[in-house]
């Protein structure tokens, strides 16, 4: 029987790298689409508004796991084989986009209506209003909840193991199956999750304080 030694620790650390990579990819791609959906959700064009609302509703109403199953097993049953990493990042990005769209829509809507009126009265186009007036203010409001969501995402990436992707959690389980030193292994795994999430939580808390201290700049 194998024992829990440096090679195992390194294996777990390397898998933590994959967890971080997956989180980053899902967050960036999901963030881009989330931003687009947030603005579509607030569009004056009824079709865009409805489409974004429908997308958000559907994605938020089904477990991420189902999205993952569909993009991995579902597509492969239809003859499209996605590698686990691709299926995993795509599914997480879809999940992220729906949630960030809602968070950011709320942030955009919390910019006072008068800011829209004042900028419209200065002859700005809707695009200019978003770019120069609304989004910079919404961005400040959105930082704490967005970082908070990111912490959730780091932990939620552990579901990708179901398609055979070896992330931090899966690595811990594999090592445990070979060594049966569950306590040491999972303490290490938990410690690594903590090391990733704790600074983010602190950052979120800090941003919240800074936002409250000076509402505007």
């Amino acid at each position: 029987m194998q024992t829990f030694g440096w090679p195992e620790v390194l294996f777990i650390l390397r898998s933590a790298g994959w967890t971080i990579a997956l989180t980053a990819i899902a967050f960036v791609i999901g963030g881009i689409f989330g931003g687009i959906f947030a603005i579509m959700r607030l569009s004056r064009v009824k079709f865009l508004r409805r489409f974004a609302a429908g997308y958000i509703l559907v994605i938020q109403s089904i477990p991420v796991l189902m999205v993952l199953f569909m993009s991995y097993y579902g597509l492969s049953a239809m003859g499209i084989e996605l590698p686990p990493f691709l299926a995993a990042s795509a599914s997480l990005a879809i999940y992220v986009s729906a949630y960030l769209a809602e968070i950011w829509r709320g942030c955009i809507e919390s910019v006072p209506r008068q800011q829209w009126e004042a900028s419209a009265s200065l002859a700005m186009t809707p695009g200019q209003q978003y770019r120069y007036i609304i989004l910079p203010q919404a961005l400040r409001i959105s930082l704490p909840p967005t970082v908070g969501f990111l912490v959730q995402l780091v932990k939620n990436t552990s579901i990708v193991q179901v398609v055979g992707f070896v992330d931090l959690m899966r690595a811990g389980m594999l090592v445990n199956n070979a060594t049966y030193q569950a306590f040491q292994i999972f303490t290490l795994v938990a410690a690594i999750y903590f090391a990733i999430c704790f600074p983010l939580s602190r950052l979120s808390r800090h941003l919240e304080k800074v936002m409250n201290a000076s509402r505007s700049h």
Partner: protein, 246 residues
């Protein structure tokens, strides 16, 4: 030549008719004060002039632009028609200078250095040259409102609208804002102002318009209107209005 022509404007919020056929003409360089109780439709009328409110029938022409809801034509109109709000509505994430320079730069293609000169010029007009790099939050209400006026002036408007611009201010701060407006009026700016400052209306406005129940109830040269109101409603308003009825 009239700078503003309002012709039989009707406006409804749902079933509530707030403007019931308003007509008014303002000549270039003229200052018109609109007074009346709250709910009389005066702010709504002002906001119709730059298209912030949509009206159901009638016509408004201002600075040579017809008011309609076509976004492009509305932007052209708004380059010539400035508005100042009760709640200042400065952009809190931008400095005073940036607040003023932004729109001339992005909507009128004014160069950075020109915009800078322009901003310093309008800031000195409102007596706040030293606040160029301050953020709005660090200014008093009166100073913020003067910056808001400067921001509108930087667009080089032909007509200026003022929507109860001193109503949110502490009494000791209204004076500095009214002074800036008086200077503008004397400089020949065409101005329409909704106001509760009866003294200001009487002494600065050429014409005062009294609105009541969505209509222009009475209007005329300011001094005459205040000294000899013809309708009971205006007479009651003028006597009560001094004590600050909204």
């Amino acid at each position: 030549m009239p700078a503003v022509v309002i012709d039989d404007v009707h406006k409804k919020f749902g079933n509530l008719e707030v403007l019931k056929g308003v007509s008014l003409s303002v000549d270039t360089g003229q200052v018109v004060a609109i007074i009346g109780r709250s709910g009389s439709g005066k702010s709504t009328l002002l906001r119709c002039i730059n298209g912030l409110e949509v009206f159901q029938s009638g016509q408004i022409e201002v600075a040579g632009h017809k008011v309609d809801q076509d976004p492009k034509r509305l932007r052209e109109l708004r380059k010539d028609v400035g508005i100042v709000f009760q709640s200042y509505n400065l952009f809190p994430h931008l400095t005073v200078g940036q607040n003023i320079m932004l729109s001339p730069r992005i909507t009128q293609g004014v160069s950075d250095s020109e915009a800078n000169t322009l901003a310093r010029d309008v800031l000195s007009q409102v007596g706040l040259s030293e606040k160029f790099d301050s953020y709005p939050d660090n200014l008093s209400g009166g100073q913020q409102q003067r910056v808001a006026i400067a921001r509108s002036l930087a667009m080089r408007p032909k007509v200026m609208l003022f929507d109860e611009v001193t109503s949110a201010l502490d009494p000791e701060l209204t004076g500095e804002v009214l002074l800036v407006m008086e200077k503008l009026a004397k400089g020949g700016m065409t101005m329409l102002l909704v106001t509760h400052e009866m003294n200001f209306a009487r002494t600065v406005a050429d014409t005062t318009v009294f609105m009541h129940q969505g209509k222009i109830w009475e209007s005329g040269p300011s001094k005459q209107l205040f000294s000899a109101p013809e309708t009971t409603e205006l007479r009651n308003f003028v006597t009560a209005g001094v004590s600050g009825v909204h």
